[in-house]
Amino acid sequence: MKKQRVGFLFILPWLIGLILFTLLPMIAAAYISLTDWSIVGDAHFIGFENYKNIFKSPEFYKSLWITVRYAILAVPLIIITSLSMAVMLDRGHKGVSVFRVIYYMPAIVSGVAVAIVFKWILDPNFGLINSVLAIFNIQGPDWLYDPDWVLPSYLVMAVWGAGGSILTYLAALKDIPQDLYGAAMIDGANTFQKVKFVTVPLMTPIIFYNLILGIIGAFRKFTDAYVLGGAGKEGNFIMVHLYEEAFSNYNMGYATAIAWILFAIILTLTIIVNATKKYWVHTE
């Protein structure tokens, strides 16, 4: 009995934090989203007015559409890129640990500094990419200054920083029994077939894990979008939209309603992806 109580005491700090910083704020958020609160002045209960307005707001749809398109393209691109990097870095050649750090580094050093560097790299006139294209007499696009090229700009950046999950893939690759490759080789499989029939199926649990994290990350994208923006408000990802409604326009009620919708979207997608698990994720 005493042991029970001691154990409970050990987890108590977390439990208090859960109530203070998660449960109570969630209850408050449910109420705030039903008011017209703007931080100054009183809050009036307005029912589902905020939600109705959001679903009528072209700005909301635009930011949602940008975020959805980004998620659909960036998540698979990142998975394919980082998985390929990991398969390559799984070889025992000399110097592989140095390459590992190099590929992993872009993901670690995220934040404003990297976003700024990319803004410069993507500069239409003097940026690195267009300057290199100019050497080959190719006129590069205006990237962030052309509404149609804003999304590709973000994708370039996403692929560059894709190495964040290579370490998880590498750890999973180490767990694949070597005799499976041996068996495949005896059956006459080439490298491509070995990857397709042995590596990828055995990696599906970790791909699944990174898929879920990737979707959540894409829908919560903020820092890059806040720094880079984009022509025609094409860089107005949903978190940026939420931030601006809350902390520039002080529409706390409206912004909280957006937050609930975003949360509902993320939750629904997670549940859907989870439901597909049995069709493609390999289990022992």
């Binding site: 042991k3 029970q4 001691v6 154990g7 409970f8 005491l9 050990f10 987890i11 700090p13 977390w14 439990l15 208090i16 934090g17 859960l18 910083f21 998660t22 704020p25 969630m26 958020a29 705030i32 990097m85 390559m88 870095l89 050649h93 592989v96 190099i102 590929y103 992993y104 580094m105 670690i108 934040g111 404003v112 500094a113 990297v114 700024i116 560097v117 990319f118 006139n125 003097f126 690195l128 300057s131 290199v132 100019a134 050497i135 560059w160 370490l167 998880t168 767990d175 970790i206 894990y209 806040y226 978190m239 939420l242 809350a246 902390f247 706390m252 909280t256 937050a259 949360f263 993320i266």
Partner: protein
């Protein structure tokens, strides 16, 4: 006779093939590394260039003359070291609490059976997907009612209630320790508190360092939280300082901006190179089993 020849030929070919594959591997790996490092190179190169080189057509890969003016200008616009120090204050204040309390809670979850433990652990896992965007605004309102907006308290204090992902990570780590360690200590009359501080904490030093690193990275790279809570110019963090750099100069000064970014990235890259082992270990422990 002839069959042996074929064998020998095959062997010869396969050695050649192996060499070729190895060459190909290095070729791809090095080409990829160039792409990965190019933005960093471009940043450093730009930060050392004079204006004419920065806006030169065709592109100048290296500065024609090296100048440190951009760095001087960057430090004039934004007190970079001061903002770094501010970030360090937040990170330092946070990490101590976050690591210690997370370990405490993880110990509770991994070594004790109490009513509702499994349910609470499920709740903990659920909060790892925590609707941060949902709780963000109510939490902000409470801090502003308490008059603590524009201070570091809202950024530091919540860490003292543990972090779900760190608790999860440490629980898995603690569960690899054999129970016999603490059983003999208990027989010797040790208290649970002592078992935690004298056995668990010292044994899990690598894991604690790993999560401390993650906590540090999280704070160093966080923009949204700092953006919401900090307004005063003298309290800005390195992320906020960089984000507001262009608005302080009015126009975009690429040279000084690259110099500032460079200075901001140096500590994090140095830390990555120095503590590489812990990152790798940490991901191995968490990622794969998560």
């Amino acid at each position: 006779m002839s069959s042996q020849k074929v064998k020998r030929a095959r062997k010869k070919q396969s050695v050649g093939m192996q060499r070729f594959r190895k060459f190909l591997w290095y070729f791809v790996a090095i080409a990829g590394s160039f792409i990965m490092l190019l933005p960093f190179f471009w940043m450093i190169s730009t930060s050392l260039k004079v204006e004419n080189d920065i806006f030169s057509v065709p592109i100048k890969w290296f500065p024609s003359e090296i100048t440190f003016d951009n760095f001087v200008r960057a430090f004039e616009v934004v007190p970079i070291f001061k903002y770094m120090k501010n970030t360090l204050v937040i990170a330092g204040g946070k990490i101590i609490g976050e690591v210690f309390v997370s370990a405490l809670v993880a110990y509770g979850f991994s070594r004790f059976k109490f009513k509702g433990r499994n349910f609470l652990f499920m709740v903990l896992l659920a909060t790892m997907m925590l609707p941060y965007e949902v709780t963000m605004i109510p939490t902000f309102i409470v801090w502003s009612e308490l008059g603590l907006v524009d201070s570091y308290v809202p950024l530091i204090l919540p860490a003292y209630f543990g972090s779900a992902s760190f608790i999860f990570f440490l629980k898995m780590y603690f569960e690899t320790f054999p129970v016999s360690y603490e059983e003999s200590a208990l027989l010797d009359g040790a208290k649970y508190r002592q078992i935690f501080t004298k056995i668990f904490l010292p044994l899990s030093k690598p894991a604690l360092v790993t999560i401390a690193l993650w906590a540090f990275m999280g704070t160093w790279n966080d923009l949204l939280g700092q953006l919401i809570y900090i307004n005063s110019t003298d309290k800005l963090t390195i992320q906020l300082g960089l984000a507001s750099f262009s608005s302080m100069t009015g126009e975009v000064l690429w040279g000084p901006l690259m110099a500032a970014s460079f200075v901001a990235l140096v500590p994090i890259i140095a830390l990555l190179l120095y503590a590489q082992k812990y990152f790798v270990e940490g991901v191995k422990m968490s990622g794969i089993k998560g």
